[in-house]
């Protein structure tokens, strides 16, 4: 990865980076922003519209929606970031190995990747979480499986392209071991592709995470997750719109922020 990452910091990119910083704070120290408990139930104040005491209103069991949305950042964004990391490490590693080694390993892994990719991503996610049941672990498993093949393909094609370069031949002729070539030459050239893919896939994975939460297939209540809050809000949509407005806006804002970053990286000067 070469620096500088961006050709220039446009106002749009500055906006995106500022949003990312804001979400980072929410994930790191939610208690600093929201002072009320995200899970404390208080039926006497159920379904109150936004007020100075509860900026985003309260839900059907009287929980503070502002706190739930702020604390939800860690759950939702954390799950997506973690799942994609697993997919990138496994898929990227496998792709690197398969692309460089070729042969039967490559063929078998390629067929498996094709198989997962035949399902539209949401449907694959629904099937995995629907069969295994809701819960954070199954959600992470589903998201990782859905995106692993994409990382596999990117890393594989990158490794194949690099392995054919003359300098690899030169390194081999000068006595480098295959592992050393893989580590010193192929890996550093494939890494930026995988990192960029991570950023590009993040908003898409976020959509799926939210959709699964919305279908009741995500993390179990009362954990505050944006998709799960939307699922809960759906039943009160015509009496308590605030329950649905805010988590959706936060989903939208985080997807936009990462989307802006992805676009800037794609057009960056460093070949990324």
């Amino acid at each position: 990865m070469s620096f500088p990452l961006f050709r220039r910091i446009t106002p749009g990119l500055a906006f995106g980076l500022a949003l990312i910083a804001a979400f980072a704070v929410m994930v790191a120290v939610p208690g600093l922003i929201a002072h009320q408990s995200p899970i404390a139930i208080e039926p006497s104040r159920a379904l109150q519209p936004p007020s100075s005491a509860h900026w985003f209103g309260t839900d059907d069991v009287g929980r503070d929606v502002f706190s739930r949305v702020i604390f939800g950042a860690r759950v939702t964004l954390g799950l997506v970031a973690g799942s994609l990391l697993i997919a990138a490490l496994l898929g990227g590693g496998l792709g690197l190995a398969a692309g460089y080694a070729g042969g039967i390993t490559d063929l078998a892994a390629g067929r498996l990747a094709d198989m997962v990719l035949t399902f539209p991503p949401v449907i694959a996610g629904v099937v995995i979480t629907g069969v295994l049941g809701p819960g954070a672990a199954n959600l992470v498993l589903a998201l990782s499986v859905v995106y692993l093949p994409t990382f596999f393909r990117i890393a594989r094609s990158g490794a194949i392209a690099e392995a054919a370069r003359p300098y690899v031949e030169a390194a081999r002729a000068s006595g480098s071991t295959e592992f050393a070539i893989l580590r010193r030459h192929i890996f550093p050239n494939v890494l930026p592709l995988v990192v960029l893919q991570y950023v590009i896939l993040f908003p898409l994975a976020l959509q799926i995470e939210a959709a699964l939460g919305f279908l009741g297939l995500g993390v179990a209540p009362p954990t505050p997750d944006w998709g799960a809050i939307l699922e809960q809000g759906k039943n009160f949509i015509l009496v308590a719109w605030w329950l649905s407005l805010w988590p959706g806006l936060f989903l939208l804002a985080s997807a936009v922020a990462v989307g802006i970053l992805g676009r800037a990286l794609q057009s960056g000067p460093g070949g990324m």
């Binding site: 067929r111 035949t118 449907i123 939307l230 959706g248 989307g259």
Partner: protein, 315 residues
């Protein structure tokens, strides 16, 4: 060309077979099947449990269960639902009618909105209009479809006091009701896909307008409408045709959530409820159907590419 078709068909068949096998194994690998659900809490009756397992064929070895299912499926028989007793093919047929109507209307709306927006942004690249269209595309791509749907519903009720009818109506039963039920789902899904179109077409247009033949066309004084609408559009259409396929597959995924939100009896809802009930024949049949559609669409894209661009055929 025939070689290309043959290779692609073979790869598609392998992918379909593997995905059917994966779904089959996944469902049987986890605890809890229809028998457990039927017996519920009083599930200590071992005789009843064994009898039901035998009835559903769940006591047979896995390879026999799968082989049997595969053999019947190849003959066009997907079996019957374990809950309703209805033929799975009939259930898929009914549900797919709803999903297909939703998907085609979404495709129509998003193409009519997204393609002109993308062309406009590409032609006026760098202008305020371009920035606005790109911002729209970014927002449309980032907003969760079901949230857009929820907000549209709130907006429609608040602004017009209107909300869609609850019970599903087919287009042949009552067209007005049918269209008003589909209005919000089509807008929420269409917005996302229009944004995808706008972004894609803008990129194509910008690249196309930098090419020599466009400069020549402008230099020899052709009216802008001819330059953009004929010379540029012709080259943009080829990649665009293949993009339509991608959009269709995406819509197919998006309908799962939107059908659940708006209570539309389509494929997505069929799959969801069958998964919850562990209705194996329905899950397997409906998923195979979805996978076959996705594969067919991708196959058509590949072949269209070969048709448009002869260089692909050899590879």
């Amino acid at each position: 060309m025939l070689g290309l078709i043959g290779r692609r068909l073979a790869a598609a068949a392998v992918a379909a077979f593997l995905s059917a096998l994966a779904v089959f194994l996944l469902m049987r690998a986890v605890p809890g099947d229809i028998v457990g659900q039927m017996l519920g809490q009083s599930g200590n009756d071992r005789t009843a449990e064994a009898a039901l397992r035998t009835f559903f064929g769940l006591d047979r070895p896995l390879y026999l269960q799968f082989g049997d299912w595969l053999w019947r499926t190849l003959q066009g028989d997907l079996g019957a639902s374990w809950y309703q007793g209805k033929r799975v093919t009939a259930m898929i047929g009914e549900a797919f009618g709803v999903t297909l109507q939703l998907a085609l209307m979404t495709l129509l709306v998003s193409t009519l909105v997204g393609v002109p927006l993308g062309m406009l942004a590409g032609i006026r690249a760098g202008s305020k209009l371009d920035a606005a269209i790109q911002a729209f595309a970014m927002l449309g791509l980032s907003a969760p479809v079901f949230w857009t749907g929820l907000m549209l519903l709130v907006g429609a009720v608040a602004a017009f006091g209107w909300s869609p009818p609850f019970a599903w109506m087919g287009p042949t039963e009552d067209l007005a009701d049918n269209l008003s039920i589909l209005l919000l789902p089509v807008i929420s899904l269409g917005l996302l896909q229009a944004a995808a179109y706008a972004q894609f077409v803008r990129g194509l247009m910008v690249a196309e307008l930098q090419r020599d033949h466009i400069r020549t066309a402008i230099a020899k004084g052709l009216p802008p409408a001819t330059v953009y609408g004929v010379h540029a559009l012709r080259n943009v259409l080829i990649p665009l045709t293949t993009f339509v396929g991608l959009i269709l597959v995406q819509i197919l995924g998006g309908v799962v959530v939107i059908e659940s939100l708006f209570s539309l009896p389509g494929l997505g809802r069929l799959i969801l409820s069958a998964l919850q009930g562990r209705d194996y024949p329905v899950v397997q049949g409906a998923l195979l159907f979805v996978v076959l559609i996705a594969i067919t669409v991708n196959l058509v894209i590949d072949l269209l590419y070969g048709l448009f661009d002869p260089r692909v055929r050899g590879g």
